[in-house]
Homo-oligomer: 356 residues x 2
């Protein structure tokens, strides 16, 4: 059972800064739905909270003035880019025809080590394809995976991956996702031995299709993964596991279906609270409860999905992210740089290769 094989394309892994050294982050400010100004709050806060972090903003000429106050600080640079990747651009088109885009620039800066990581709110398909094309995967990693943190019932967090970075997959990819997810939770969320689970349609051994069963065997045979077996869709949020692994198609649908029902419930609450004069009065009275609920659930703090398995750090911010949410995405990138996530994934893969 070969879970990892080193590709011939075994390039050296990108440099990642040490905790004590300066950390450099590139931000593609152009891709989001709300416009580039949405990153202003993040830039101001990062400058204040992280004295050793420098930022390179990649955007068009027109947007530069939005950041005039920040650019007075010599820790902020602005790269003027001639193109923007639009939400409707196809991934192959973005790679071929948007070589001067802010997204491409942020990735190229990461590639040539001018920065340690990049953050973008842009077109997810284009970002994943361009990142894969520009940065390449780590030796031994077949496919990159997109991973996000989600809240769980015991006030903890769970990492779900893949969310659609790759649509085609095999059992080996699922095993690699398990390994990468485990490292991210250990290093960035400080979970000592992350409990890793595989998403399936039942918890019993006989459940699921052959790819899931094969992946189960592969993950089970690893000495470095704390594997707890299968979980079902409703277990994602139950706090049973720290990492939930699935293929990109299923992960994408599961995440979006959860977002859909959450938005539906939130709309239902609004409807109920405004359906009569009496209910409007009651909902005003209950406002502290709703505020407290919102603070517990605040989706902003979960913004910043990590594209794992590449030779550098790429964080995807939600296209519709709020200023605060954008700040959390940049924080996620800084944390991954501090913890040298790609180096640790590479080391763990080499260790697994030695053992098998």
């Amino acid at each position: 059972m070969s879970k990892i094989s080193l590709s011939s394309n075994d390039l050296p892994i990108e440099h990642v800064a040490e905790t004590s050294a300066d950390i450099n982050i590139a931000i593609d400010i152009m891709g989001g739905d709300r416009g580039p100004h949405v990153f202003l709050y993040a830039v101001e806060n990062i400058l204040q909270k992280h004295p050793k972090v420098n930022l390179t903003l990649c955007g068009d000429d027109k947007s530069k003035k939005l950041f005039a106050s920040c650019l007075a600080n010599n820790r902020v640079k602005y790269e003027v880019c001639e193109q923007i990747v639009n939400m409707s651009d196809k991934p192959t088109m973005a790679i071929r025809s948007k070589k001067q885009s802010s997204m491409r620039k942020a990735l190229e800066l990461t590639k040539c080590k001018e920065v340690d990581a990049c953050v973008s709110s842009g077109n997810t398909g284009a970002l994943m394809a361009t990142a894969y094309y520009v940065l390449k995967t780590l030796p031994g990693i077949t496919r990159p995976a997109l991973a996000t943190l989600l809240p769980t019932q015991n006030n903890s967090r769970v990492l779900l991956l893949d969310l659609g970075a790759s649509i085609s997959y095999d059992a080996e990819s699922l095993y690699q996702y398990a390994l990468m997810g485990s490292i991210l939770m250990q290093e960035c969320q400080l979970v000592e031995q992350p409990r890793v689970a595989l998403l399936n349609v039942g918890e019993e051994e006989i459940k699921g299709h052959s790819l899931v069963k094969h992946a189960d065997l592969l993950i089970r045979s690893s000495d470095t993964i704390n594997y707890i077996g299968y979980v079902e869709g409703d277990d994602i949020f139950a706090g049973k596991s720290d990492v939930v692994v699935t293929d990109g198609f299923t992960g994408n649908v599961a995440l979006k279906a959860s977002e859909g029902i959450a938005s539906f419930l939130s709309n239902e609450i609004k409807t109920v609270c405004t359906q009569s004069f009496f209910s409007r009065v009651l909902s005003k009275l209950a406002m502290p409860l709703f505020k407290s609920l919102y603070q517990r659930m605040n989706p902003d703090q979960y913004n910043g999905a990590s594209l794992l398995g590449l030779r550098s750090i790429v964080v995807k911010s939600h296209g519709n992210a709020s200023p605060e949410a954008c700040y959390f995405a940049v924080e996620q990138a800084i944390m991954e740089v501090k913890q040298s996530v790609p180096t640790k994934i590479k080391a763990k893969i080499e260790q697994e290769l030695m053992e098998h």
Copy 2:
């Protein structure tokens, strides 16, 4: 592009009762998590509301006394069964070794036309496998599909299928699910031209894996399906479509992930409402709001998943269904009998075969 082919095993389709004639329903009362008494409310209510419906309860000898009051009515029969299918029984084991079970009895009664439909809260895997084994699929249907109604934002309902009746699938199965789902929505929910969508990771043509793209072409080529193209996970609850088609693995995960986040949110509301004396007072005041929200969302009314594509009607009630939810599952079975769902699926398939 062959979407349907008649199998050699072209048995005549089971008889279904006419609206004016008596309707006979078998209920496997043994399978649920809460015990057989949970069906008492359903039996009493069905007897009262449907003067032409007769019920056959399949259960063990011990449970018969629970229904003593109902059995005084000559429209209720009790079949004493020697075995029970447990939640831990594997499907193949249920088929081979539980031939005297209440689940098997209810399905056999349907097979030999003593009843028009059966309802069970039992082990889903065992029910689907045994139903497939005992009743067989309709000519032209490769695999049965499990379909359930879900609430949507515009106060309407959407049918999601497959939920895991079949784990392996091909593009033709997805096409057949689209056809069957469309018929169920038209006949039982009275939606005139149900908008049918295919679940994918993006709405653009280039998105998704080859099986989804192939299914998209097949469904698009049908004259009888009102196909609206791809939708994403968050669109399930958005009211964009009346039927959402996907493979059993993805559908199962999407449904359970949605249940998981709904349960998580409900627990968070409870936590927020009880975290201090002040919040307990506020939540008491806001109780009418919570009650109104619960009434709108009440999951009981969505109980009763239909196993489509078989030669008779089988409705799966949730294992943990409440008495009211069990009642809705029996109502679903009655509705499918009244609308002769299997006959209409068979007719539509023959029509499609004629046209292609």
